[in-house]
Symmetry: C2
Subunit: 243 residues, 2 copies
């Protein structure tokens, strides 16, 4: 499952970088492998921080919970991503990390990593890059949420997912969303109905296509068409196309 295929054009840089990072971690610090089934939590909000969880396979979401019970999908995570980074400062995890498809994570103790980093400084770089990448990604989410209309946010979500798959050497023309419309809507700050309408409009405009017999599998003829769609919606002149 989620095995890295080796296509003709391997988008090598991303795949290689991630594989190298995982090998480095494996060889320099003690890791505890753990299979997480779809729907199970890697950790939960409030639980004392101690480990990072590096994703070896599968798809995960991180969820924040406000004091009053508002729930928010904060991020989506793939092979090579580190989970639990927000736990360092507070001493406990800031939300739940949940598998949205069965996968495997490697638990790495923070103190063990710092120890190991004395012998293998590259470990530190790997940690810092993981944290920095999450910052960049969060900032991107903020930007999309604040500046794009609903339809474009859905398009951006699909493009993000496709990009993530491509960087990991997986096929990107046909993708399976491991999330319900409600989850996607929560992640994008809109209702499930709006997600459904946006997907319908994207399909009507032939930017995406639904694979027969299932609305979770989506065919993306050209990823750049998504980008054009987003730019089109973002421009001040929002012509009422695709109706």
């Amino acid at each position: 499952m989620n095995a890295v295929t080796t296509p003709a054009k391997p988008a090598a840089s991303g795949v290689q970088r991630i594989a190298d990072m995982l090998r480095l971690v494996e060889e320099t610090v003690a890791v505890t492998r753990r299979v997480v089934r779809c729907g199970e939590a890697v950790y939960q909000v409030g639980q004392p921080f101690g480990c990072f969880y590096i994703i070896n396979s599968g798809f995960f979401k991180t969820v924040s919970l406000s004091a009053e019970g508002r729930e928010q999908v904060i991020g989506l995570h793939f092979r090579g991503d580190w989970l639990g980074l927000d736990g360092i400062s507070a001493g406990h995890y800031g939300g739940d990390a949940v598998a949205i498809d069965t996968g495997e994570v490697w638990a790495v103790r923070y103190d063990a990593l710092l120890q190991a980093a004395l012998r293998a400084p590259a470990l530190l770089t790997a940690l810092h890059e993981a944290m920095s990448r999450e910052l960049v990604r969060d900032h991107d989410s903020l930007l999309s949420l604040c500046t794009l209309p609903a339809d474009a946010r859905v398009a951006g979500f699909l493009r993000y997912w496709a990009d993530a798959l491509e960087q990991r050497g997986l096929r990107t023309d046909q993708i399976t969303l491991h999330m319900t419309r409600a989850e996607i809507g929560n992640y994008l700050g809109m209702t499930l109905e709006s997600v459904s309408r946006a997907l319908s409009r994207l399909a009507r405009g032939d930017v995406i296509r639904f694979i027969e017999k299932g609305r979770r599998d989506i065919h993306i003829p050209k990823v750049e068409a998504l980008t054009r769609f987003i730019q089109h919606m973002a421009s001040p002149v929002q012509a009422a196309a695709l109706h």
Copy 2:
């Protein structure tokens, strides 16, 4: 300017923690002090990454720019915050960092910090806590943006600002926003008119008060009133109070 006052109740933990961190940095690694005037940039998007900038005084905003020119205020930063953390992974800064009030930053080279951390491991902890805190803060922003109506987001913004000042030992009952309505609106994902209306409603409900002769200075009688207001707006039953 922005000197740390020493009130009777010093909210010591925060002040102390930040002061300790700054002293640690000062004593263990080479820093280049730099005064940044209001409106000037600490760094700009695309500029090659090399340094973090630790805020010694002043107020700063970080701004992201999309390919098509959409502009988004991502974060607000105060004494003790680290700027430029998102530059590690990409090798260049992900946005601009701009002073919204004259202040001083300490430039610390990343490589120098890693070197120094061999002798003073606490430096690493400081870096990791700074990054982790920014992650937590970003997640909080996402949560507010996606789950709160406009008025509550403005209230949340004021509470965040007041909390940041309190943690730094500054007076929190009367605060000066160093931002225009347009900047606040951009940060909160709404228009400047909506910010203005929200502030007017908060004032009408006596949750805040405007200091006479200036709409940039705001008096907050009780910070907890802001919290109650937010919770009130967040609850499913949004009684149409404060009209």
